[in-house]
Symmetry: C3
Subunit: 311 residues, 3 copies
């Protein structure tokens, strides 16, 4: 069984194929059982993961930190890199070289698109992209796909609807690209007209012959979808005036949620502000708290394991 | 031997009885021996503790972090939560749900009264209150009681004197409530008239029939007490003008300290500013550095252990 | 084999002799083999290291944090102490007393000269100086000496050239003092006239009868040196106007680098701003990324090990 993650960077997810993903998800499910039984094991003893976060993110940080330690590894927990050598004027390239001398793996979050790829080029150890600006968030995309797969088994024939600020929301990019691997998938993108999906994603999906549509309202589509993926407006990535124009464009209430198929799921990669009403939390379709967060830990454990160990 | 801490929150301490405390302190003393012998053990391997600190506190943070690791557990070391999702507008409820998916236990400090209880309601794992505004600080209260018990053995018949800013100092609340379990205890509260003990505490002590007095000077009481607990003025919880009015109201010098019984002890939960002179540090009655801090680690180890393991 | 580091502070390095250093470097080389083979081991299980950083330094912090965990120890990862009790007005002495109750070893960085020695006086556990203002940085000095020794074997008869802001650069102090142990060593100090080496260092070297010169240009010396140590201008330790006057005084380009002996090495303790051109990075003489950083981890592992374990 080929482990195509071993010693490789995970900056983007376009190099992964269905078999790579199948193997990863198998590993995640095995690890899930171990965690449920005894919290974890020691397979990554002697390995150190450095988290280089140039943008605040308590949840992605924590997900990686818990994942690494549940497998017996150690951590270099750098949470606000702007309080560090960055302020002394060091380049990202030099930072990558230094930290890859200390750690066996770097997990990098950065507000600028392309920054993580740049660091990967100079790192002597694998780099995992934990979000690079409006670019990608591969471990979130894989978490989301795992959550969908756990629910539906077969990933073909599904209809996935994304709503919200699709222009700035990197998990949309990562998950959409992953979904494009499944030929019969259908995707609907619903956003305010100011923040549609990025051109790059659109071209990518066209090149992969994915059936997708773009729209500005979701009410008519809702009854047909298997997966509803709600996103937050990324306030920190836009002007104040744009934020005030588009915030609150879509709010998923329980009335809407109940109009969905019984067998459908509602996802959100959190934090949630007001785009999903709190009464939806207890809707049986809602998986964002009950499964998606926890799956993020299992999938990240699987990713760390497969990057750091051959077998 | 019933472990009433197992899988329970520790937000307040009013649900604990004398037997619960006896069992906890027995565990703390066992753990103390293990730490002295070999630093710790691996009983909490596979368990992860998240520290969610919304208020700076290097010492409580560090006490929990060292406690968890000395028992073989891992940590999610979040120290300044205001640099995190909180700034994106997430509610405490959602934060509780997310972090309880990653960790086996949450340790929360927050400047607002009631906030920790609120998080506990939504957490799927036990929550330990590491200080909630002017509310409670149960692990400190238990540490303080353990320190007193180690000195005197029998907790009855003691006379405990608190001095300082009693209105804002949460360990006063927690320790007083614990002391109320011992029927013959006597408590004297001495504070500037602007910052007496809180009404809620007063009512609680009355309902428990505790013998206590309130006063504004401590000189006459000092010779009679077994335990003197000195507190810091909580500058961060009051106006500048109130601070300047009450700061320096009481300063424990060695002359005062030496007027105390030989067999008495002087406590402070630190940091100390100027309310205890430095020459008191070497007074044989002073236990704040020599015992109280270290006991904090042992008691927190015992609490983590009993919450996370049944036996 | 006497371990003179055991249970001792490492605030300065002037108490170390050649035999102490030989034993330390032997340990570092043994540990290097273990790390290359399996990442580390568990010899420091049950030990906790607290990093008390009053000045940002992601790389020294990370080097210690990875070192401790690769030996099985735990960490109290305090990175920005100015967000902590310090703001409540606690003295360094009290902080030392508190943290030495939690941890088995304190690693302290502080912007003020003498502050770390002050803390060591009140700590009940060993304190390692991770940089105290314009004072010392002993673990960096030892790392640098180890890097030189690994290259040349015999440390006598070498010619070492330091260039840059020598007045504020503490590794210059630490390494120069260590070099003074080797009677035939020659040192050249080249700096802008505003930032020569400190008087204290000069007196120390004179007292040790070290052959050294001071100059303002390095071009003529370059062809004769075995070790070129380039330093960063410590912007944060000087006025804006002085910074603008001296920055860019020396820039090591590949043309200069290639004029050095084939068997020489170029060092820098990083972060590097613009004092070494990027094309020098691939020069065979450059060891700052390829060896110096990684050696920092091995040497710190050896130091932690020798301070915390007798054998």
């Amino acid at each position: 069984m080929k482990n195509s993650f071993y010693k490789k960077h995970l900056v983007d997810i376009t190099h992964l194929n269905i078999e790579d993903i199948r193997i990863l998800f198998k590993r995640a499910s095995e690890i899930k059982k171990i965690v449920e039984l005894k919290g974890g094991d020691n397979r990554l003893q002697g390995k150190i993961m450095a988290t280089l976060f140039y943008e605040p993110s308590s949840r992605t940080f924590s997900s990686f930190v818990t994942a690494m330690q549940r497998l017996g590894g150690g951590i270099i927990p750098l949470f606000s890199m702007f309080n560090s050598s960055a302020v002394k004027g060091e380049t990202l390239e030099d930072t990558a070289r230094v930290f890859s001398s200390y750690a066996d793996l770097l997990v990098v979050r950065h507000p600028e698109l392309g920054s993580v790829r740049q660091m990967a080029r100079y790192s002597s150890v694998p780099v995992v992209n934990a979000g690079d600006g409006i670019g990608d968030h591969p471990t979130q995309g894989l978490t989301d796909l795992y959550t969908i797969q756990q629910k539906f088994g077969d990933l073909n024939k599904l209809h996935v609807l994304f709503i919200g600020d699709l222009g700035h929301y990197r998990p949309v990019n990562s998950l959409s690209k992953l979904l494009s691997l499944y030929p019969q998938i259908r995707i609907s993108f619903v956003s305010p007209k100011e923040v549609p999906i990025q051109d790059g994603l659109k071209k990518y999906l066209v090149s992969k012959k994915v059936k997708f549509i773009e729209a500005n309202s979701f009410e008519n589509i809702l009854a047909n979808v298997d997966v509803l993926y709600v996103t937050r407006v990324k306030k920190e990535y836009m002007t104040e005036s744009l934020y005030h124009k588009i915030k609150g464009s879509y709010v998923l209430t329980n009335i809407f949620a109940n109009s969905m198929k019984n067998n459908s799921i509602i996802m959100h990669c959190l934090p949630r502000i007001d785009e999903i009403s709190h009464d939806v939390d207890s809707n049986s379709r809602a998986v964002y708290f009950s499964q998606q967060v926890r799956n993020g830990m299992y999938v990240r454990m699987a990713i760390l394991d497969m990057i750091l160990r051959k077998n």
